[in-house]
């Protein structure tokens, strides 16, 4: 791995997901990537691919399709790195937003096209999810997220998880949780706000 160039500590970087150090490092790598620096991009990939792929896999579930989506997202990141604006959010949030959008697009269009893979559910179980989840759980950051999640009501947490990890629309979430139409969106928003306040991010 190449030595890191010092990146000015981001007083103006909003607090957000990931540590400020990590985010200013990622922001620096995105800057270099925008100028065509492939080794900076490789470093960005190494620092973020597990989180990004973990999210995509959780939403898409099928490992082969998840790989395709992860690849598309990283190529999109390479192409659009110059559009990342640290004033508008952290680098991790930008990456996860791109990844989530693409993963959700993939599952919704597959669903609409009626393309149902029979191997889908078996694949679901065979993902190397458990071992890595354990490792992640051990991390301090993960423990903070877990305890922040505990400040949510059960409905807020369920609605948020179905929307974020399930890729369902708020209308679908309402129906799945037997909530009156129009209330799931409020639960999702309230859940995110509580999570934000418990973690002290995005202020």
């Amino acid at each position: 791995m190449r030595p890191l160039n010092p990146v000015p500590s981001g007083d103006r970087t909003p607090e957000g997901t990931g540590t400020p150090d990590l985010n200013s490092r990622l922001g620096g790598l995105l800057n270099l990537a925008a100028r065509g620096d492939e080794s900076a991009f490789a470093e960005l990939y190494d620092a973020t691919s597990a989180r990004l792929h973990g999210l995509v896999l959780r939403v898409v579930r099928d490992p082969a399709q998840a790989e395709e989506v992860t690849q598309e997202v990283f190529l999109q990141v390479w192409r659009t790195a110059s559009r990342f604006d640290p004033e508008r959010g952290t680098a991790l949030s930008w990456l996860m937003t791109l990844a989530h959008r693409r993963a959700v697009d993939r599952v919704r269009s597959a669903e609409a096209a009626g393309r149902h893979d029979t191997a889908y559910h078996q694949n679901d179980r065979s993902t190397p999810h458990d071992s890595t989840a354990e490792a992640a759980e051990a991390s301090l950051e993960a423990r903070r997220v877990r305890s922040a999640l505990e400040t949510l009501t059960v409905v807020q947490r369920d609605a948020l998880e179905l929307a974020y990890f399930g890729g369902y629309t708020h209308t679908e979430v309402a129906s799945m949780l037997d909530l009156p139409v129009g209330t799931a969106k409020t639960r999702i928003r309230d859940g995110l706000i509580r999570l934000r306040d418990a973690m002290g991010v995005g202020q």
């Binding site: 492939e38 997220v145 629309t169 706000i193």
Partner: protein, 257 residues
Amino acid sequence: MTAHEIHALSGAYAVDALDDLERARFEQHLAVCPECRAEVASLRESAAMLTELNATPPPASLRDRVLADLRTIRPLPPEVPSPAVEPERPRPSRPAGSRAASRRSRVNWRGLGAAAAVLAVVGVGTVTVVDQLQDDSSQTVSTADRVLRAADAQSIHVDLPGDASARLVRSVSQRKAVLITNGMPEAPSGKVYELWLQNRAGEMVPAGLMPDGGDQEVVLDGDAAAATAAGITVEPAGGSDTPTSAPIALFDFAQAT
């Protein structure tokens, strides 16, 4: 939808839990609401934290594929303000096939093409489709007039969420259908509205993409005389061969008046 109601969509928007039409509306709202932009940014931060719990490294082979592909893709330049992507699009109430109308639509399409290219790898495909449509636009206006004036013109009106509406006019003698929209929100970023004709076998056949802009008059591609219905769906930029989402509007010719 009231301002208060639309504001409440910020959380669902931050986690991509809006359907395409809601998303389009909320993005219109975001453009004019700095509070919502700030809120969405902060809620995206908090959603992204959840990924801490699911880290799963992709296979090592993926890294090689991604890095090999980089060489074939040019990073985009930073965004600089350009009047070409200005969303303001004044339109005459009736585009009567004038040269000015077709020039205006050309400018709009360029703007759309540029916006799509920013967002996705499919940019090139989009521009190709757009160019084809552009070439047709000078002929389609007079076709539209023939359909609208035809003695056997039948019309179906559909209300869309919010204040938007659409009217489909079909003439069996002219074998064509024209869609007239009113106040349609922009398609979500990276998406287009695609038009369809349903044949007697119940299959949806692509009938073209809708130009950008809320008030449009578009001639559907294909033989409308043989069709039993027409529809509009939201599709990825460039359009699809078969609908990938439920129609946001469906015009059943059996109910035409």
